[in-house]
């Protein structure tokens, strides 16, 4: 029997499990192969909903379902914490000391927000990248009666369009609440333009001007003073705020560090085309867990998962598993409460976003409900 272990029950890991299970149903039923997903979370969470949760447009239960309900019934699910990956033994050592052997391993452990990397941020600012953080921000916005909202962005972060989306949405939200005249929206960004994608940055400039959104570029948040309500960048600039909303820096998961497989940020060195861990033939890495210089986003994990699943199926049937990932990413961008655009790009093709429309926004809202077809391996 050949054993496939998938470490992580997020979008990437779940897609791989379901696609392999669907296409190798006969081998699974005959016991020729075994697929195991290890996830320390009972629920599968659709994290983009947290943006809407902060604006009280959805509630947490709309963002999650039990992972067991999404996985193919022939896939084993282990709901427990992994302590480390033991490459020599080809096994996952679990926190309770038990081991789970693999012939092929997929590392799909994702990333985690690390607001603690910026002094004072956990006490002085809000984040919407976790359910708990989005609920706190929902209350803070509910209680907000005008003032200076500063949106700041740490590095690296997942969902690179979320900072712009939140900025546009909060500006429109303030106007819709009748406090637009006494609300300033301030946006900071780590590099020398408004977004890493040049066409998006060029498009955002005039929109910021039209909506009177103040911007500060080359601003990498370094410390927050919750008493004085100020944030200071490592470039030496200090801004006042009444409400601070941070897209926090992220790190890879601690299990990568404990396994000594990552770099200084717990990101796993990964071949950008084969998606195999550098120096390994039987370990694949996808999604936020990689060290690849591409967007940390569910979309990236989705396109990578298609390749990893195809290669696993091929390898399990005696092939070489030589399909390659081209760097494809697709993301919607909310440009306010009623319009949106999208970007798509790969390693060689730059993005070229179309003009925002209401139709794209409506499709994004529809996708938020259709998302569950994606980890099921259907969309």
């Amino acid at each position: 029997m050949q054993k496939v272990v998938i470490l992580g029950g997020g979008v990437g890991g779940t897609i791989v499990a379901n696609q392999v299970a669907r296409q190798m149903g006969t081998e699974l039923k005959h016991g020729d192969i075994e697929i195991t997903v290890i996830s320390e979370s009972h629920d599968h969470v659709y994290q983009p909903m947290f943006l809407y949760l902060a604006f009280d447009q959805v509630v947490p239960s709309e963002a999650k379902k039990p992972e067991r309900d999404i996985l193919d019934r022939h896939v084993k699910l282990v709901e427990a914490t992994a302590d480390r990956i033991d490459r020599d033994a080809k096994a996952i050592v679990m926190a309770d000391g038990t081991t789970i052997d693999y012939d092929y391993l997929v590392i799909a452990t994702g990333s985690r927000p690390s607001p603690e990397q910026i002094d004072g941020l956990p006490e002085g600012g809000h984040i919407f990248y976790t359910e708990e953080g989005a609920i706190k921000l929902r209350q803070a916005l509910h209680d907000f009666d005008g003032g200076r909202i500063v949106v700041t962005v740490g590095v690296p972060h997942k969902c690179p369009v979320a900072p712009l989306e939140f900025t546009f949405m909060v500006q429109e939200w303030a106007h819709s609440r009748g406090i637009g005249d006494k609300t300033e929206v301030v946006y900071t960004y780590p590099i020398g333009r408004l977004h890493s994608l040049e066409p998006v940055a060029k498009w955002a400039g005039p929109v910021f001007e039209e909506r009177h959104i103040e911007s500060h570029i080359f601003f990498n948040p370094e410390k927050v003073d919750p008493t004085q309500k100020t944030i200071t960048s490592l470039e030496g600039e200090t801004l006042n705020y009444d409400l601070l909303v941070a897209i926090p820096p992220h790190t890879g998961q601690d299990v990568i560090g404990r396994s000594k497989l990552g770099d200084g940020g717990n990101w796993v060195p990964t071949n950008r085309h084969t998606l195999r861990m550098e120096g390994s033939q039987n370990i694949f890495v996808l999604g936020d867990a990689t060290n690849l210089p591409i967007s940390k986003a569910g979309s990236t994990a989705h396109f990578e998962a298609d390749i990893v699943a195809a290669n696993l199926i091929n390898l399990l049937r005696g092939g070489l598993g030589s399909m390659q990932y081209d760097g494809k990413v697709f993301c919607f961008i909310e440009t306010g409460m009623k319009t949106a655009t999208y970007i798509t790009f790969d390693y060689t093709t730059p993005p070229n976003p179309p003009a925002p429309t209401e139709m794209i926004h409506l499709y994004k809202l529809a996708y938020n409900r259709m998302y569950w077809l994606t980890p099921a391996g259907l969309l």
Partner: protein
């Protein structure tokens, strides 16, 4: 540590892009580390040195080899 050069291969990176990859690398490495960013974007030859100056790090090298822009930076703080 000062002699070790860590390569940040950001070729083909439209998002987050080479400068953001450098900032990520600098944040997670100790003071004294030398990082060399590889970029396929000619803009990197200009925007990376500008950020390095603002952030107070040291620009060691800024060259182009066969269409790849290679910018070497030492983390100094």
């Amino acid at each position: 540590m000062a002699d070790e050069v860590k390569i940040v291969d950001a070729r083909g990176s439209f998002c987050p892009g080479p400068l953001m990859e450098l900032i990520k690398g600098i944040r997670q490495e100790p003071v004294g580390t030398v990082l060399e960013v590889w970029s396929s974007d000619s803009g990197s030859a200009k925007d990376i040195p500008e950020w390095v100056r603002r952030a107070g790090h040291e620009l060691i090298q800024n060259i182009e080899e066969a269409g790849i822009y290679k910018v070497q930076v030492k983390k100094t703080r």
